[in-house]
């Protein structure tokens, strides 16, 4: 038992419970959001500090808890990103929770629990832990979405999310059980070894016809049991990352959920989904399976990129627009996953995925921080009601613009470098994948159109400027801080990406 390895998780768990207990003892008549948020933030900061301290203190990564938990460098990276995302979400949520939610204690504690699930998910190294963490994340998210229970939309979204979520995790569980049935093991490493050694039993072999050599086993079809397992598992995770065609819940849930929850779903949930997808695919990668899942991921990627970007054009509701934009971003990231499948592009793909997920958290949450404030100001999430808000709040308008341009992938913001790494990785695979890169970059241009529409509304609109002296009301400190961190992050990571590159290079060496 190595408790040091999961010390950050323990801290997060204690935070979640502590916040509930604290909520009991606080006087409900007085505003208590601030205290709860402070307690929660303290816990998360401690956890993040512990995690980084352990890493820099030279804590070695070993498999612990009978192989259930593998806090390797990848896991360290993604846990740090997840804790950062939780902290940012916390900062940007304070004002909203105070005004709109009747249950601040529940919000904070559930958010911590969901984060806890995500933390375990990215470092799980066997299927049961994996599944349980995923459920912890999902169930907390269902409740979070339903938190404004007096609102019909919130309840509807939660039900949709719940139904989609349960079905997809049931299917994924079926996939796991198939794998277990084939390999006789739950442990990722053992499954991988099994597939490497005996994977060739799961393809149809063609006997040689006169003169012709037998087709290599990559050319053979995968047998149905392994194929079904792969499809089911990818489908279950595809739901988590909202990739087309498993995306149907996303727009409605994003729209119905309270704004901070939407921010949380778009950031933490996505990071956890991708980190776990990377790990699962690594587990399931063997000569026989790689061509199959690569083809599947290519299809998912193309569909997500094209569909997300094209449909986002027509959206008037900011939340829906971001739902589709997050679908599109899942597509870009899936391109990176595609590039994982080949050895020569693997390093670049790993770098791209790590870097882009980190940057994606920063730019998305930065955008959400500003949008939560603007939504509160205008009492609306419809784009046309935001006319001229950027002129009234130049600083926040600037942050939102920077985040949107970064999401588009324009320099000098980190989103550009992220796309460069991802697309570069796919280019490295050879010229037969250039068409995929072409789709990616062309869709980025399409995405500029709808992001620029937000910018246009914010700045170009002819407001009557009636009594709108600039910054007549200053935004909450924490929210401004969150937006500031994001801005510094996306600019800083553009100029100094080296430490991420070095970190990922370290991961590669270990592999």
């Amino acid at each position: 038992m190595d408790l040091l390895g999961i010390l950050p998780e323990i801290l997060v768990c204690l935070t979640a419970l502590g916040v509930i207990v604290l909520d009991l003892f606080l006087d409900p008549a007085k505003p208590r959001t601030g205290k709860l948020a402070f307690a929660n933030g303290l816990g998360l900061t401690l956890a993040l500090g512990t995690l980084l301290g352990l890493h820099w203190g030279g804590y070695a990564s070993v498999e612990t808890f009978s192989g259930a938990f593998l806090p390797d460098l990848t896991a360290v990276f993604f846990r740090a990103v997840l804790l950062l995302a939780a902290l940012l979400t916390l900062m940007l949520s304070v004002g909203y929770v105070q005004d709109k939610l009747r249950h601040p204690g529940e919000f904070y504690s559930l958010m911590s629990l969901a984060t806890l699930g995500a933390l375990f998910l990215v470092s799980a190294s066997e299927m049961l832990t994996f599944y349980l963490s995923l459920e912890l994340l999902s169930i907390s998210s269902f409740v979070l979405v339903a938190l404004r229970k007096t609102q019909a939309r919130s309840a509807e979204a939660a039900i949709k999310y719940l139904i989609f979520g349960s079905i997809s995790s049931a299917l994924m569980l079926f996939g796991f059980s198939l794998i277990y049935g084939l390999s006789g093991s739950l442990n990722f490493a053992e499954i991988n070894t099994f597939l490497h050694q005996q994977g060739s039993e799961f393809v149809y072999r063609f006997t040689a016809v006169e003169g012709q050599s037998a087709p290599a086993f990559q050319d053979g079809h995968l047998k149905i049991e392994l194929m079904a397992a792969l499809v089911l598992i990818l489908g279950g995770l595809g739901y988590k990352i909202a990739a087309v065609p498993f995306h149907l819940w996303a727009p409605d849930v994003y729209e119905g959920a309270p704004l901070p929850v939407t921010a949380f779903l778009s950031a933490s949930s996505k990071v956890a989904g991708f980190a776990s997808l990377m790990r699962i695919l690594e587990t399931l990668s063997a000569d026989v399976t790689v061509p199959f899942w690569t083809r599947m991921i290519v299809i998912l990627a193309v569909l997500s990129i094209v569909y997300g970007n094209v449909v986002a054009i027509a959206q008037q509701n900011i939340k829906r627009l971001f739902a589709y934009s997050s679908i599109a971003h899942a597509g870009y990231l899936l391109m990176g996953i595609v590039a994982l499948s080949e050895f020569k592009s693997r390093d670049m793909a790993l770098l791209g995925l790590h870097y882009y997920l980190l940057v994606y958290v920063l730019m998305n949450l930065g955008a959400f921080a500003v949008m939560i404030y603007f939504a509160a100001k205008s009492q609306s999430v419809r784009l046309q009601d935001w006319t001229g808000l950027g002129r009234q709040h130049p600083w926040l308008g600037f942050v939102l613009t920077a985040c949107l341009l970064s999401l588009t992938g324009l320099p000098p913001f980190a989103g550009f470098l992220g796309k460069f790494y991802l697309f570069g990785a796919v280019t490295m695979m050879g010229s037969q994948y250039l068409w995929l890169v072409l789709i990616g970059v062309l869709s980025s241009v399409v995405s500029l159109y709808y992001y620029a529409r937000i910018i246009r509304v914010l700045f170009f609109g002819q407001t009557e400027s009636s009594g709108s002296s600039p910054s007549e009301q200053t935004p909450p400190v924490l929210l401004a801080l969150a937006s500031g961190i994001s801005l510094v992050g996306i600019l800083g990571l553009f100029v100094f990406p080296n430490w991420v590159i070095d970190f990922v290079a370290q991961i590669n060496q270990l592999i």
């Binding site: 570069g424 280019t427 010229s431 970059v441 620029a452 246009r456 070095d502």
Partner: protein, 488 residues
């Protein structure tokens, strides 16, 4: 090089003027310290900082005879633009910040010696331009702004693809322009010919949009018409040159054999640009549109000069980039002068303004003559060089005569240029004057200074072009030194 500090500026008019002026002075210092006697192929003042050493990415800048005139032009035009926009009151802080960020981007484009940095700078220039057109523009500014940025971005994604391919698929695995230039024609070794052609064309199209080459030019009139005066000045004076610069530096620099292969196409495209732009300019009723199409026409000469594949033509093309920058800037300044006073650019409503604005009228006539390419002014020199170059082009056989034919046809463009420019002068400044223009004042001192500076430059280069050609010539000779079988 401290040129890149300019985006640190704080914002108001004087500060903007100070920073852009400082940049101008610095680039003049650069010009004076540029070593003409060094070997023609070398980049000078190379400044290098590692950025992502893991990928051979670096911040690397430097100038050679090709980029130096462009740096000078940029800093000059932006400085002028600051003075031209002296009247801008609305949100001036943001305005000048954007202007200076754009200057940073453009200077970055002209000096960066790393493909990655080049692309970053190329895009960096787009965002401020989007805001500048979109916030301070005319009535249809939002449309023009989004059209501008989508066109250019779509084109630059092609460039991005090409750079990715150059980096990842070539054996060199570097973005370093100096290294790449030393390996011309080997960049895409190991790739199929169709892919090579596709990459080359995608790069070409990207720069063709910026130049702009007909039929990819439709963003230009819209952007010009809607943009405020100073931005039109920069757009025509500097941004269009980025396209031509890119063609010279990358298309010609990296793939000279393919460029050579499509020389006739270049000449024909140039001819179409010249004639089509000129004809459309004749048909416009909006002053700015006339000049916008004249830009299309004049940039055609650059293409034509490229097609010559001899140093004379190339010198002419580069010189044309510079002179067109100054002359078009002048033309747009005059449009701004007229528009500020009359609030219309409609030719039908204007006329006879010389009675109220004699000085402006006189200066405008001189500018118009420069635009037409009257001897003694820089336009004449560059166009003369281009025609001489293309007529004696270095191609052989049928292609030689085809390009000569294109040259002769393009010469018609000069006549057309005379037609639309002088017609413009007549419609605006001469003829009967409408009653309501009685109150107009003549050109003011700020405008006079900017105009005079540019005009002196036009005359000096017209009389003594060697001033700039001395810098350009080694670069263009070097650019052509790799050509296969350069004939007499």
């Amino acid at each position: 090089m401290a040129l890149f500090k300019s985006n640190r500026a704080h914002f108001y008019h004087w500060l903007a003027a100070f920073w852009s002026g400082l940049t101008l002075i610095l680039s003049l210092v650069l010009l004076s310290r540029y070593d003409l006697n060094a070997a023609g192929n070398a980049f000078q003042f190379v400044d290098r900082l590692p950025w992502m050493p893991q990928f051979n990415l670096q911040y690397q800048v430097g100038v050679d005879g090709l980029s130096l005139p462009m740096v000078l032009l940029t800093s000059l035009i932006v400085c002028i633009a600051v003075f031209v926009s002296w009247q801008t009151q609305e949100r001036s802080r943001l305005y000048f910040a954007m202007l200076l960020i754009m200057e940073t981007g453009v200077l970055g484009v002209f000096t960066s010696l790393d493909l990655f940095l080049f692309f970053v700078m190329w895009e960096l220039e787009l965002i401020p331009m989007y805001f500048l057109i979109g916030i301070w523009g005319g009535p249809r500014r939002e449309y023009a702004a989004i059209k501008f940025i989508l066109y250019t971005l779509l084109a630059s994604t092609l460039m991005f693809m090409c750079f990715l391919a150059i980096y990842f698929l070539s054996p060199l695995q570097t973005f370093d322009v100096i290294t790449l230039l030393q390996n011309q024609n080997n960049l895409l070794a190991g790739m199929g010919r169709p892919l090579q052609i596709a990459l080359f064309l995608s790069l070409f199209i990207c720069f063709a949009v910026k130049l702009p080459v007909v039929p990819l030019h439709t963003w230009l009139p819209d952007a010009h018409v809607e943009a405020p005066t100073a931005i039109s000045v920069i757009l025509a004076g500097v941004l269009l040159k980025m396209g031509a610069y890119g063609m010279l530096r990358f298309n010609l620099g990296f793939f000279p054999d393919m460029m050579y292969w499509m020389a006739v196409a270049l000449a024909v495209l140039g001819m179409i640009n010249i004639l089509y732009g000129a004809l459309l300019a004749l048909a416009q009723t909006d002053m700015k549109r006339v000049i916008a199409y004249s830009s299309v026409s004049h940039m055609g000469f650059v293409l034509l000069g490229l097609a010559a594949f001899n140093p004379i033509g190339l010198n002419g093309a580069i010189l044309q980039m510079f002179t067109h920058g100054t002359i078009t800037a002048l033309l747009f300044i005059f449009v701004g002068v007229v528009y500020d006073r009359t609030h219309t650019r409609d030719l039908a409503q204007l006329g006879g303004l010389s009675q109220r604005m004699p000085l402006a009228a006189g200066l405008f006539v001189i500018t118009a003559l420069a635009a037409v390419g009257a001897p003694g002014m820089s336009g004449f020199v560059s166009e003369f060089l281009i025609f001489t170059g293309t007529y004696g082009n270095s191609l052989e056989g049928l292609n030689h005569f085809l390009i000569q034919g294109a040259t002769i046809a393009s010469a018609l463009g000069i006549i057309l240029a005379a037609a639309y420019t002088l017609w413009l002068v007549r419609r605006v400044f001469f003829g009967p004057m409408a009653e309501r223009w009685q109150e107009l004042s003549d050109i003011n001192s700020t405008e006079l200074v900017t105009v005079t500076v540019l005009m002196i430059l036009v005359f000096v280069l017209g009389i003594y072009p060697a001033l700039l050609v001395d810098y350009i010539n080694p670069a263009s000779e070097h650019l052509l030194s790799w050509l296969p079988k350069v004939g007499g």
